[in-house]
């Protein structure tokens, strides 16, 4: 099923980690993403890039996993940046008041550059 969530992730390397979900992020899949993000943070990630460019759909239940991970990172002085070029994702962040909490970059290179300035 193409909509099924798949998550590519590696253990953090020197505090840096990226997580790449693919498929849809909603009530059915948010807990799976949350688990992977928490696992990554707990393994020592301080700078986390979540690349949403292969996500086909995301709603507020999907964003709840990202927000939970962001809060967990912030508690450890860490930061999270999203990679997306999807206007609807940016619009949802604005509606939910999360643009400050979760900065957005157009490429992973830009995301790492943003994290380096934080």
């Amino acid at each position: 099923m193409p909509d099924q969530l798949r998550i590519k992730h590696d253990p953090p390397d020197q505090g840096r980690a990226s997580v790449v979900p693919r498929g849809s992020l909603d009530l059915a899949s948010s807990s799976e993403l949350r688990s992977v993000l928490f696992e990554t943070v707990d393994a020592g990630a301080e700078a986390l890039v979540v690349d949403l460019r292969q996500v086909t759909f995301v709603d507020s239940a999907g964003f709840s996993a990202l927000l939970a991970a962001s809060k967990r990172l912030t508690a450890r002085q860490g930061h999270l940046v999203l990679v997306t070029t999807d206007e609807s994702v940016v619009r949802m962040l604005r509606i939910m008041g999360l643009t400050e909490v979760m900065p957005v970059a157009a490429t992973s290179e830009d995301a790492w550059a943003t994290l380096a300035r934080m």
Binding site: D26, L27, F57, S60, A61, S64
Partner: protein, 173 residues
């Protein structure tokens, strides 16, 4: 008459009636079929149901309802961007129903999709306990704010008999 015919949709549990005239409901100027088919009757209803779905209170229902709503939006004159707005709003509405209305136990989620002159109207109804807040909610509690942003009109009804009905209208063009 016969301006609509039954159509078996690809989505299980969904029935759809497709207009013989692609422009049905879009206004008087488009109510005559250029291919020579029967014109719309002068007493054509202001809105017509184009799809209905009744699903169990399960997490997988969110995706099924969303997919059906997106399909119906595309089949009834909505562009890709509007169809995505419809899908997102339905996802939020059905998630609300599952999280808040049916914290436990069984229940059904009912979706009706209608077209009017220039809008697609989706109504999500549950028979649960209303939009009561939950301290253990897996969502952000922002579903209604998002729906309000995506729709041209939004009406929330909580009939005395129980349950909640969300009527969401989207401009098709």
């Amino acid at each position: 008459m016969g301006h609509a015919r039954p159509h078996v949709a690809a989505v299980p549990g969904l029935w759809v009636t497709e207009s013989r005239l692609p422009g049905i409901g879009r206004g008087i100027s488009e109510s005559v079929d250029p291919t020579g088919m029967d014109p719309l009757p002068v007493d054509a209803p202001e809105s017509s149901v184009c799809g209905e779905l009744d699903l169990p209170n399960r997490i997988s229902t969110v995706r099924r309802a969303r997919g059906a709503a997106r399909l119906l939006a595309r089949r009834n004159g909505c562009g890709p961007a509007t169809a995505e707005n419809v899908a997102l709003a339905v996802s939020e509405a059905v998630t609300n129903a599952i999280i808040h209305a049916y914290a436990e136990g069984s229940g059904r989620v009912h979706m009706v999709v209608e077209t009017s002159a220039d809008e697609l109207v989706v109504t999500i109804t549950d028979t649960g306990g209303g939009l009561s807040p939950r301290t253990d909610s897996p969502g952000l509690g922002l579903g209604l704010s998002i729906i309000a942003e995506l729709t041209s009109h939004l009406r929330v009804e909580t009939p005395p008999s129980g349950g909640t009905s969300l009527r969401m209208a989207f401009r098709r063009v």
